[in-house]
Structure formats: C-alpha cells, structure tokens
C-alpha cells in the first residue's frame, strides 16, 4: 500500500480500536500513541517525491499542511490526555469522542492528499460527520444546537460542493472522456483550457460556496462560532487548525483548475471579495464577544479571510503569504485554545468577565496565554506577523485602495485582541471555581502551547531552507 494511503487508513484503524476501548486512561493513551505514529508517517511523507498514487497525490501543497495537521493532532491528543478525566464522559461518549477524533484525522488527511475531486469531497464529508459527532459529545442543549447548526449549514455546503464537482466533470467530459481520470485534479488542470468556460465558471461558484462554507468564509460562517464554543476544547483546536485548512485547500484546488482557462472569469477576485468581507465582519464582531471561545472562533473567520484574500491576489508572493498564514494560524490558534480551555476549566465559565488576572493567579498559564494571543494577533516575531506583512505589502503594491480596508480590519482585530489580553490575563484575578487540577493537567496544557509557539516562531523568523523551498514550490504550484 502506498504511504499516503497508510497515512489515511492508519488513523481509521486506530478509530476502530478506540471505539472498542471502554477504559478512560487506556483509550486516551492509545489515542496519544496513534497520533504519535501518524506524526512519524507524516514525516516520512514529507520526504517523499511528488507523485500520484491512484486517487491520491503528494505535492508541495499538501506536504506542509499534512505535516502541520499531524503535529497538531499529536499535541491535541497530549492536551486531551491531561483533560479527559475532568470531562466525566460515560463510556459511550468516551468511545464516540476518541473514535470520531481519529476518523476526523484520517479524513482530513485524505482531503489534503486526494487527487480525485470526488474522493476529496467524500473525505470532507466524512470529516464533517466526525466533527459534528465531536461537537455534540457533551450532550448539553447548547452543544446539540451547535452541532445541528453546524450540520445543516455544512450539509448544504458540501451538497453544493458535490454539485460543483458534477458540473466540473460535465465541463471536462467532452475533452477528457470516461473513467476515473475525469475527476483527477492534475488531469482536469491539464485539459481545463480546452473545456467549456461557462460550465467552469458555474462549477467554481458552487465549489467556492460549498467548500467556502467549511472554510468559514463570510457569508456562510454562522456555524463556526457555535461549533468552536460548545464542543470539547480539543475539538476547537483541530477544527480551527485542520478542518479549515482542508476546506481551503479544496477551494484552492478548484481555483487552480478554473484559472487554467483564459476565457473563464478569473476566480481570484471572488476569493478576495469573500476574504475581505470575512476580515471586516469578523474584526468588528471581535469587539462584541463576551464568550472567550466565541471570540477566538471569530478570530478564525478573520484569519481565514486574510488567507483567502492572499490566495485571491495570487502570484508567488500572494500564495506564499496565504500558505504561511494558514500554517501560522493553525499553530497559534490551537495554542490559544489550549490555554483558554484550561482557563475556562479553572473558572468553570467561558465568559470573559469571569476569567481575569490569570497572570497573577496562575503565572505560567497566564503568561503563556499572553504570548499565544499576541502570536495569534499577528505581533512579531511569530509566523502571522510575517504572513500579514507579506500580504499587506503585496496588497499595497498591487491594489493600494484595497489595502486600506484590509489594513483597517487587521488593525481593529489586533486592538480587540490586545483588549482581551488585558481582560483575561492582566488586572485583578477572579476566584477559581474548582480546586487546582494536578500537575499533569498543567503540563499537558503548557507543553503543547510552547511547542506550537516555538514552531510559529521558527516559521516566522527563522524558516529553514528546506521549509522555505517547499513553501515556494507550493506557491509556484498554485500559480
């Protein structure tokens, strides 16, 4: 079996085992072990040469995203290991939680690796169903509502994406003929210039709206704040870290096909418009949030908007900025969610007003969260600073009048995050609602946070030559 298939099927095999394990510690440890093996497999995959294996392909675009997802998968399992006891899951929920986690990991890996657009669609569908299960796992009224909203909106989204996929084949059919090759990304891209441009436009609209829903782009972002606020924190980390990236990569694959036809309407401006709308709406919404996890979910919408804008501008620089932004956002946002998860557990509330003065009451957690929020706000020296700097300079040189609203959105969002740092971490401490949890819970929170921050620092300030070359090749691939 080719390595990319193992990367997909290994977590699914682990999911089957996990669904059979009733014991809490054991299941959490097996989950951790499975994620560690997945990381090793991803490291092997990153060193593979580009190539296709039937329905999957390995290229510079999915290698960095896959490595990132394996890293975040492992750190999230570490975090989950330390927090799972406090959840008080019954055996059924425990099995559903761990099983769905590994199903999700396999499905999002398949979504990144798929060459066949139909297989990619199925992968995103499986990832959606697994994440709905994880969001609903608490079983509270709010969690059920969040899961329902998530499912109905994303269900329509992926249905529209399938329609787009059918139309894409319809456009290519006279040129490409019958057989599985008709949905292959590389084959479609090669023949796109001879396809019917009208059908390509129609297909792109459906694919953008469909996968754009999953990527959290305005105006179909409604599910994201609920889903990230109500499920377990580890789910918020993988949703914002991985699912959004997988959906964005699907949008990009569709975009490159349509862009290959000179007569089709250029897809870039659509991405830029949705991206700019997301950035502006989200940055204003950040100021009105009272729930800390909703606030950071809105911040995900803002960052996906920035990435969409960067990919919409295109060119080597725009694509590089977009990729760096996806990677940096996943790392820093999941670090923030780990810290926020610990804080909400200590205070037994997600209200910002109930969480205050973390830096004085829990210095290690408080200061880690200060740094993590600074990183997610795009302050130097972390990756998001580098990507936003690239993005804004590129925007200024090409469309200065668009850079103004974009810069305004970024500025408002930074200010909102500085504001929330002051409320959460500085100032007077609010009383803890529970007795301090053991060392394990703190270590499994702080360890992942600092690993992520370190990686974001490397990505932003000292990217090794190999990594830079890979990102440059990926940007080239998207041109």
């Amino acid at each position: 079996m080719p390595l990319p298939w193992i990367v997909v099927f290994f977590p699914w095999a682990a999911a089957v085992v996990l669904m059979a394990l009733p014991r809490l510690r054991l299941a959490a440890a097996v989950n951790l072990g499975a994620s560690a093996v997945s990381l090793l497999l991803a490291l092997l995959l990153v060193n593979m040469p580009d190539g296709e294996q039937g329905w999957t392909r390995v290229d510079a675009l999915n290698q960095p995203l896959l490595l990132l997802s394996a890293i975040i998968g492992l750190t999230t399992s570490v975090y989950s290991y330390g927090q799972i006891e406090a959840k008080g899951f019954d055996p059924l929920r425990l099995r559903a939680y761990h099983g769905a986690y590994q199903v999700f990991m396999g499905a999002q890996a398949l979504a990144l690796l798929a060459d066949n657009m139909g297989v990619m669609w199925v992968a995103i569908e499986i990832a959606t169903m697994a994440s709905v299960t994880m969001v609903a796992v608490h079983g509270t009224a709010a969690a059920t509502e969040a899961a329902w909203k998530f499912f109905i909106l994303c269900g329509v989204g992926i249905a529209l994406a399938l329609f787009g996929t059918v139309i894409l084949y319809m456009a290519a059919q006279p040129v490409i003929g019958h057989g599985d090759v008709g949905l292959s990304w590389s084959a479609l891209r090669a023949v796109a210039s001879r396809c019917d441009p009208g059908l390509l436009n129609l297909a792109f609209v459906f694919l953008l709206v469909g996968y754009g829903t999953k990527a959290g782009l305005v105006p179909r972002h409604f599910w994201l704040p609920d889903a990230e606020a109500e499920g377990p924190v580890s789910i918020s980390a993988v949703l914002s870290g991985l699912l959004l990236n997988a959906a964005m990569s699907a949008v990009l694959r569709a975009e490159t096909i349509v862009r290959a036809h000179p007569g089709a309407i250029p897809p870039g401006p659509f991405l830029m418009a949705l991206g700019l709308a997301s950035v502006l709406l989200a940055s204003f919404s950040l100021w009105r949030r009272r729930d800390v996890r909703r606030l950071f979910a809105w911040s995900s919408i803002q960052h996906m908007g920035l990435a969409a804008f960067a990919f919409g501008m295109g060119g080597a620089m725009g694509n590089l900025a977009g990729l760096l932004h996806l990677l940096g956002h996943s790392l820093t946002k999941s670090a923030v969610f780990f810290g926020v998860g610990m804080a909400t557990r200590l205070k037994a509330s997600q209200k910002i007003a109930a969480i205050g003065g973390l830096a004085s009451s829990h210095p290690a957690l408080g200061w880690s969260l200060v740094v993590a929020i600074a990183a997610v706000a795009g302050l130097p020296p972390f990756a998001l600073f580098a990507s936003e700097f690239l993005l804004l300079t590129e925007a200024v040189t090409r469309w200065w009048w668009l850079a103004l609203p974009l810069g305004l959105g970024v500025f408002i969002a930074v200010a909102a995050k500085v504001n929330v740092v002051q409320q959460l971490c500085l100032g007077d401490a609010t009383p803890d609602a529970i007795a301090p949890p053991g060392r394990l819970a703190f270590l499994t929170t702080l360890g992942p946070i600092w690993v992520h921050l370190l990686l974001a620092l490397v990505l932003g300030a000292a990217l090794p030559a190999g990594g830079a070359a890979m990102l440059a090749r990926a940007a080239e691939l998207l041109k």
């Binding site: 669609w121 709905v132 269900g155 399938l162 084949y169 059919q173 006279p174 009208g198 009105r288």
Partner: protein
C-alpha cells in the same frame, strides 16, 4: 437526441416530475404530506437513474437506482414517520410561507436556474444541459424549502430533496466517474442527519422541533443580539407552543 424521441422524452418526463414534486414539497403544510411527497420524489429519482442507466448502457446506474429506491422511497420515509409519531407531530400544521408566496418564489428560483444553466451550456449535448437546468432547479428549490421551513423535520426533508437534485445531475452526465460511490456517500450524509433527529429527539430536548426555539441557547448573554441568530431565528417567529402542534 432531441424532442420527439422516446428516450429523451422519458428522461425529461422523469426530471420534470421531480421538479413538480419539489413544488409540492414547497407548499405542503402537514408534516406527513411532506414525507409522502418526499417518498414519491425518491421513487421518481430511482426511475430516472434506472432510465439513464438504460440509455447510457451503464449498468452501475441500476445500483444507484436500487439504493435510491430502497433508502429514499421506503426506509427514510418510514423512519421519518416513526419520528413524527414519537414526537406526536402527525397533526402539526406548519406556518410556512403562504402557498402563493412560496409558488412565486419557487417559479423565480426555477427561472434563475434556467437563465443560469441554459446559456452557458450551449456547447453541451441538449439532454445534458436540460438535465442540468432541471437538477439545478431541484437543488435550489430544496434550499428554498430549507429557508422557508422552521420545523426540523421539514428542513431535513429540504436537505434530502436538495440531495435528490444532486443525484439527478450526477446520473444525467454520461460517463460520470464514481457516480455510484458519490451518490451513496451523499445518501450516508442524509441518513446521518435523520439519525441526528432521531437520536437527539430535538423536540424532547427543546420542547419543540422548531429550530427557532434554539435561539434561547446561543451561548452568550441574552440581551446581546447575535448576528448568527439571523440564520435560524428571524425576530417575531411564534413560539412553537402556541402553534397547536401538540396533536
């Protein structure tokens, strides 16, 4: 192939029947009638898939037809009936958009689908482009139904009807790869939603299957108007308890 040839006419007839049933779904107010109309649409979809299988001499489409018939014309309607009985909804009257208004919105949506689909597919074969226009109309009418309905079961039926449109599009494109796999995967999604309604018993939890009742649980302080509420609960939606859905 063009008008007057039997294979073409029958394919059109079946596609047209699906569109007609989408309109029926749009204005029906009783939950049971909605489920019946959906079952009929599923049966017509199965016939359309089988007919395309015969026309394109693609035997795998018979499998799609069989799966569609078993699931959408028999099993899912039975499951939905069971849910309706269990939640005691069988006499419920739903305040959807008025019949006139929904019909006009539906006609506008179909006109939009035709305006979008026909001009850009002039290169494609006549049957493919008209199938696309029909399928796009069914998809958009399914979305319209999801927007105008407030009851969770009707919304799920809207999603399933939308998915029927997808399958109609997929079987209409000759040589579509993975057509059986994709239509089955789409069906799994639909079954998952139905299972969600069944497992969560949304009515018991919220005392209503009216998704408008969710508004109370948006996770933030009640005085703060939430932008995301707009998707599920426009202001002024009557509380379900006042709507005589207790049977």
């Amino acid at each position: 192939m063009t008008y007057g040839q039997l294979p073409y006419d029958i394919a059109h007839l079946l596609g047209g029947a699906m569109l007609l049933l989408s309109f029926v779904l749009l204005y029906q107010r009783r939950v049971q009638a909605v489920i019946n109309a959906f079952a009929m649409q599923g049966a017509v979809l199965a016939m359309a898939a089988a007919w395309q299988g015969a026309m394109q001499s693609a035997p795998e489409l018979y499998l799609t037809a069989l799966v569609a018939f078993t699931a959408k014309a028999v099993l899912i309607p039975l499951a939905l009936r069971a849910i309706v009985r269990r939640l005691n909804l069988h006499r419920a009257v739903e305040t959807a958009l008025g019949i006139g208004a929904s019909m006009m919105a539906g006609v506008a949506v179909v006109a939009l689908a035709i305006l979008v689909a026909l001009p850009i597919t002039t290169g494609a074969r006549a049957i493919a482009r008209e199938d696309l226009a029909l399928a796009l109309s069914v998809v958009l009418l399914g979305m319209l139904m999801m927007i105008t309905r407030r009851n969770a079961i009707s919304q799920v039926v809207g999603l399933m009807s939308l998915e029927n449109g997808l399958v109609l599009a997929a079987v209409g494109v000759a040589g579509m790869p993975l057509v059986v796999e994709l239509s089955t995967a789409a069906l799994v999604l639909v079954v998952f939603v139905v299972a969600g309604v069944f497992v969560f018993q949304i009515r018991e939890r919220f005392d209503s299957v009216d998704t408008g009742a969710f508004a109370a649980n948006h996770g933030e302080d009640a005085f703060e108007p939430e932008p995301e509420e707009a998707s599920t609960a426009p202001p002024g939606a009557p509380p379900a308890a006042q709507r005589g859905d207790a049977g």
